[in-house]
Subunit: 311 residues, 2 copies
């Protein structure tokens, strides 16, 4: 019972520099990473915008993963371009260039064939646009999304109106603290659960992720450690791949949050698949790892996680 | 089959300031925390030194946990005194005062009754002293210890000669990087395993801990997340309580590292008990939580961990 997943967000070209090397132009963007990641679990349809410079070979990479690109609009102008340099330990990065280009006027319109799909993941874009997309869908079984510090700090009212309608919110630890005003992550999560989302997933980079929800006895949590890679080559896109693995797994199992509350282990499995996909993403530059990654490799790493955390 | 555990290290008085308040003088020291923590699992005997100012009420706290204090030497002078202030998020602390006092000339001599005990934990003291203590024991089943950046940086040769004989080394992530010269923790662990210890446990503060060992197929690992506390009141001693829970659990199960390699889940359980004990320690100032902590509360939190990480 594989359920279709619609993913909305940025499609971009990135220039990246890490201690392991540099690339001047490689496929990027949250939508791209999330979609490639989720495609290992469930059929994926994307909504995004690119310029005239978007290469057919990059469309082909998406198509080779069975991704429906009907919602990938091509318009006059250049594709969103981002350039960044990572610190030696790769825990920090500095943005050198952000050219929004055609992404500046992105106004996602969903193809008719997308509107009745049951799963929706809203990548980090302007909250009003996220809300508009959600409004175009009917019959959603599960909807969630990502955001960032800019929207939390400068578009708070808009963001709050948007996440109020979500089943889950996926953010990192510093964003959770900024959104909630609480430094203790358990308190931060409890505060965010009062804002609407029924589940909040807090990503902690190399330290893994936490997932919180509320039941009749209070705030519940599960935790997954980060996968220990032999080599982190390029962390770009790891968080988006986490989202794709998380959402892709839930969609592949036909899970809504009602199911999840009855079966918290399914939620934890989704978090682990998220960690697994984020870890693969870091093994090569940009989305290169997805050129030859197989589902068998994914499941083997999931099992390694299980062995490393089951006591 | 409860096996006795000998713990060597500092016994001190601390002055502490956290965002939750301050205390001018409270029982502290690595040996104290480790012993109180381990005492919930197995019989504990301590080796340390205190001055004439050491209060009978503090001896009584140790005795009330069944801790054998025959090896707690009392000498003329004052007890080791440490004073520190924590940052607002309690992830950093600044030392205000370190008065070694009688600890400056600490030269641990084991009572005859300690020497044939099967488990030994060497708290963070000068590596030569750690080696001397180990040399006084016969018939050890499992020995391990802690160290710190000072010994790693300025007494490396001495430290290397000491840990070469250990079954496990317990250090934090920055110390592991300093000792190994590797920033990737998996590489750091592999390097440390080549220095002698058969197991290395890397503590990551609020993010939990990792445990590594080597078998015929390579370096193996297990991971435990940190427990999410509602309130971190005072993190002093949390790492020592981790050590006490870890070692205490292994001793309570009669585990040596041969067993551990056959049953990695036992190692992970020991790490989880370490995290559980570290988390309780943070709930009140100094070792106050151990005045009324019960084994039932410990096991309930262990089960909460299990529910939060089993998928």
């Amino acid at each position: 019972m594989l359920m279709s997943l619609v993913i909305v967000g940025s499609v971009a070209y990135d220039a990246l520099q890490t201690p392991h090397g540099k690339v001047d132009r490689i496929l990027g963007g949250a939508c791209t990473y999330s979609a490639l990641s989720a495609s290992y679990f469930t059929p994926v349809s994307i909504v995004g915008v690119v310029g005239e410079d978007f290469a057919q070979s990059d469309v082909d990479l998406l198509l080779s993963h069975g991704i429906d690109v009907e919602g990938l609009e091509r318009v006059p102008g250049k594709t969103f371009f981002w350039s960044g340099v990572y610190s030696d330990d790769m825990n920090d990065r500095r943005t050198l260039v952000t050219d929004l280009n055609v992404f500046a006027t992105f106004d996602p319109k969903l193809p008719e064939s997308y509107r009745s799909q049951p799963y929706l993941f809203l990548g980090n874009i302007q909250p009003t646009l996220q809300r508009n997309v959600r409004g175009q869908m009917n019959g959603l079984k599960l909807v969630g999304g990502d955001t960032m510090n800019y929207w939390i700090a400068d578009h708070r009212a808009d963001l709050l109106a948007t996440i109020k309608e979500w089943d889950f919110l996926l953010i990192n630890d510093s964003e959770a603290r900024l959104l909630s005003g609480k430094s203790n992550l358990k308190h931060a999560a409890a505060t965010i659960l009062n804002l609407g989302p029924k589940t909040v997933i807090i990503k902690r980079g190399e330290y893994g992720a936490l997932l919180f929800w509320r039941n009749s006895t209070g705030v519940q949590w599960v935790a997954a450690p980060g996968y220990l890679l032999d080599e982190v080559f390029d962390p770009t896109g790891a968080g988006d791949c986490f989202a794709g693995g998380f959402m892709g797994y839930l969609a592949s199992r036909g899970i809504d949050l009602g199911t999840a509350e009855r079966e918290p282990r399914e939620l934890l499995r989704a978090v682990i698949y998220g960690s697994v996909m984020g870890s693969f993403c870091c093994e090569r530059f940009g989305p290169e790892r997805f050129r030859d990654l197989t589902r068998a490799q994914i499941d083997a790493r999931f099992q390694e996680f299980q062995a490393a955390t089951a006591f």
